[in-house]
């Protein structure tokens, strides 16, 4: 790797340049560094100065298992801060095979025409795409595949074209369906503001990724892959049940947000559990285990069919099932699968959208559990851009304001994911302090103690939550920069040789001499870069707080409010 492709949507030109000062960066490290350096923090997210960066990770395109994440970054229209979101699918490896570390979308078009970008090893073309206007992601991918064959496709749906805050960026999966999304933060709206419907990446005949020491890389890639396969979470639990396996467990812990975060228990949780999902997949000819990107050995995705055995959706995840299930008081998996399909097609973040529907339910626009009305809200109103559709598509905070609702579970403008921080207070620290807004992937489980990544934390110390959250966020930022699936963190947590394999593979690929400390340093630098951008965008420590109601309303069954003090939250950034 070693090139950046810049596409200017203002003068409709494309140019390739060397990495230069960005050398050594990939994935989140690269997207966030480019955004922090090149985007004025006070710019309008939908204006001419914002950029969208797409970047594979440092290991993407190699044979490293589960390394096919594609990272996207911009200034978020939802939060007003920096944003990184990543996705599975087939496109990251194709970008890497073509030799690009990043594709940077710049400027605004001079007209209201829709365009697409086609990239192969010989050329970059910016082409008219008005025939795709208002088209859903499914049809877009089908038509582009008819035209270009087996390619990687990054696309937006009608929500992105409407520049809605909850709009996602879609990536096609290995079955050529637009089911993998960089969902959070409204990145699809920024792509839409640039009049770009899709990026088609064709790596036919591409040189591929250079490996300096192939034997050494092969050795450590095998150790890494073996580590994933032998671990009970990545080798067995996730492939068997997918992420939805968490429904029952988080519900049992009293942390499954229910009916817009008014309870931590959903009485119908077993109807929407991972166990039920797996049975439905099995009995209907779907797939209970499915890889979200080439080379993924964890295979935690799924293909979900309806009762007649017809394809309904793919990648039905824990967060989505929660967002439209417990949070909206809907206990029918088939209905939830329809929501997932709709969001994939319209190009919406399922977490933000499910959270917004729940806020609208609380506001009286519809009743809790009224899935029929909720389906229409998405399929008719958001898809077609009616006034109420634009409100819903603008996210939970906007919708809460419109309906006068105080219980809006958001931080920095972004709706919380599927863990109530009053039950699991440590996740609240991450929600509060993350540069991304409320984000469950910001601080992930990596070997903070075992590997001493980020320093040792006394597990018996009750006030250790800030320190743990900090270490986790540092480690997550590093993992995100390598293009690895975050679920690789589990074997890394438990198996020292799996952790070692990460930097050994990097050393073999790039001819480096990294140690485990490099992981920590990279993560710290990414967080500080992102924090600096947010500070310049006007964020202060007062934005590192949970919404007021979480300090006041206790959550059943543990009857807890959020208790971490502001002063403790403020200590997060002391590193």
């Amino acid at each position: 790797m070693g090139k950046i492709l810049r596409i200017n949507m203002n003068d409709l030109t494309a140019k390739t340049e060397d990495l230069g000062e960005y050398a050594g960066l990939g994935g989140r490290a690269l997207t966030s560094t480019i955004i922090a350096k090149e985007v004025p923090p006070l710019c309008h997210p939908l204006g001419p100065n914002n950029k969208v960066v797409a970047s594979p990770g440092l290991l993407t395109g190699t044979t490293a298992a589960s390394s096919g994440r594609c990272h996207f970054g911009c200034k978020s229209p939802l939060t007003g801060g920096i944003k990184e979101g990543n996705s599975g699918g087939v496109v990251a490896q194709k970008i890497a095979h073509l030799g690009y570390c990043a594709i940077v979308l710049e400027g605004l078009p001079k007209d209201d025409k829709l365009r697409l970008v086609y990239i192969n090893k010989d050329k970059v073309e910016i082409l008219p795409a008005d025939e795709f206007k208002a088209m859903g992601n499914y049809q877009t991918v089908t038509k582009l595949t008819e035209r270009y064959g087996k390619v990687g496709i990054i696309s937006i749906g009608p929500a992105g074209e409407q520049k809605l805050n909850a709009a996602s960026i879609a990536v096609n999966d290995m079955d050529n369906r637009p089911t993998r999304h960089a969902g959070r933060g409204g990145q699809g709206a920024v792509m839409g503001s640039k009049g770009l419907k899709a990026i088609v990446v064709d790596d036919t005949g591409a040189a591929g990724v250079e490996i300096k020491d192939k034997d050494e890389f092969k050795k450590w890639a095998k150790i890494f892959s073996d580590g994933l396969l032998k671990h009970p979470v990545t080798g067995e639990g996730l492939p068997t049940y997918g992420t939805a396996v968490l429904i029952n467990v988080i519900n049992e812990a009293g942390g499954l947000p229910t009916r817009n975060f008014s309870s931590g228990n959903f009485e119908h949780a077993t109807n929407i559990s991972g166990e039920q999902l797996t049975e439905n997949c099995k009995n209907r000819g779907g797939k209970g285990t499915h890889a979200c990107s080439p080379g993924c050995v964890i295979r935690c995705s799924n293909v979900y069919n309806d009762k007649d055995g017809n394809y309904l959706t793919s990648g039905l995840e824990y967060e989505t099932i929660w967002a439209f299930g417990a949070n909206c008081n809907i206990s029918d998996l088939d209905v939830i699968a329809r929501f997932d399909r709709l969001c994939d097609d319209i190009g919406l973040d399922t977490i933000e959208t499910g959270g917004t529907i729940a806020v609208a339910m609380e506001g009286g626009l519809l009743s809790f559990g009224d899935w029929d009305r909720a389906i229409k809200l998405l399929d008719e109103d958001v898809r077609n851009g009616t006034p109420i559709g634009k409100i819903i598509g603008s996210g939970a905070v906007v919708t809460g304001r419109v309906f006068g609702i105080t219980r809006v579970p958001a931080v920095k403008g972004q709706n919380m994911p599927a863990y109530d921080p009053r039950a699991i207070q440590g996740i609240g620290v991450t929600y509060a302090t993350s540069t991304m807004g409320a984000d469950h992937t910001a601080g992930y489980a990596i070997a903070t103690n075992i590997m001493k990544v980020g320093g040792y934390v006394d597990p018996l110390k009750p006030e250790g939550q800030v320190e743990l959250s900090r270490n986790l966020q540092i480690a997550t930022a590093a993992i995100d920069s390598y293009g690895l699936c975050l679920f690789t963190a589990f074997p890394v947590l438990d198996q020292p040789e799996t952790f070692e394999a990460i930097y050994r593979m990097l050393n073999a690929q790039y001819g480096l001499n990294l140690t485990g400390d490099a992981v920590t340093e990279l993560g710290k630098n990414v967080l500080k870069t992102e924090r600096d951008f947010n500070t310049r965008a006007g964020f202060t420590n007062k934005d590192d707080r949970l919404p007021e109601f979480m300090y006041q309303e206790s959550l059943a069954p543990h009857n807890q409010v959020f208790m971490v003090k502001d002063e403790e939250l403020d200590e997060f950034w002391n590193f």
């Binding site: 992420t243 396996v245 968490l246 467990v249 009293g254 166990e275 039920q276 903070t448 009750p462 807890q560």
Partner: protein, 203 residues
């Protein structure tokens, strides 16, 4: 509890798995000696392998509180015990027994540890099994017999598992071989008897 009716259903391995899924996710009642530790309950009373308990059942809740030390957490009458394998995600890892991330859920962690068992008379506890534990330990426990509510069982036979149960190889009601319709009739005519022992034989 000797007057409680007992139903024994002979099922295939696959249908047993589905029945386990229905029963154990919501929870069944188990007659156990209360006052014992969770470890005693699982390893001694339920005869689960110690290594399996230590390595596989890595996430345990007692009345919705994550437990770290199962040898010092005592089971009381009417408690709810939930067993799960290792879970993904930051929160999943946080909830694991003895997780180094345990401080992240300190406010809900089980803390009423006692050093000694104080085994008392028999009582009923509510047992839930999830994910891999459900698959692996569920059939074993179902063969030993679990206690279910009448109404739940009627719902199971009439609705949720109707087709599968109807296809059962054999059904015994209080030791007497009978048919599914007779079992349904008996259950519905004895609604004052709130619970029934359900046993499975895998054929």
């Amino acid at each position: 509890m000797k007057d409680i009716s007992e139903i024994e259903v002979h099922l295939s391995h696959r249908v047993t798995g589905e029945l386990c899924s229905y029963l154990f996710q919501s929870g069944v009642l188990l007659k156990v000696q209360v006052g014992a530790s969770i470890k005693n309950l699982l390893c001694e009373q339920l005869s689960l392998d110690k290594t399996y308990v230590d390595k596989r059942i890595s996430t345990i809740f007692l009345n919705s509180q994550p437990v770290d030390d199962i040898s010092k957490a005592i089971i009381k009458n009417n408690d709810t015990l939930a067993l799960s394998s290792a879970m993904p995600g930051l929160v999943g890892a946080t909830l694991r027994r003895n997780s180094h991330l345990a401080p992240l859920r300190n406010n809900i962690t089980f803390k009423e540890y006692r050093n000694n068992d104080d085994i008392q008379a028999y009582g009923l506890i509510h047992l839930k099994l999830f994910n891999l534990i459900l698959q692996e330990a569920g059939p074993f426990l179902l063969q030993r017999g679990v206690v279910t509510g009448f109404e739940d069982l009627i719902d199971l036979f009439d609705n949720k598992m109707s087709e599968k149960i109807t296809g059962a190889l054999d059904i015994y009601f209080n030791g007497k071989k009978t048919g599914i319709n007779e079992v349904r009739r008996s259950l519905k005519s004895n609604v004052e008897q709130k619970i029934v022992i359900l046993k499975i034989k895998i054929s």
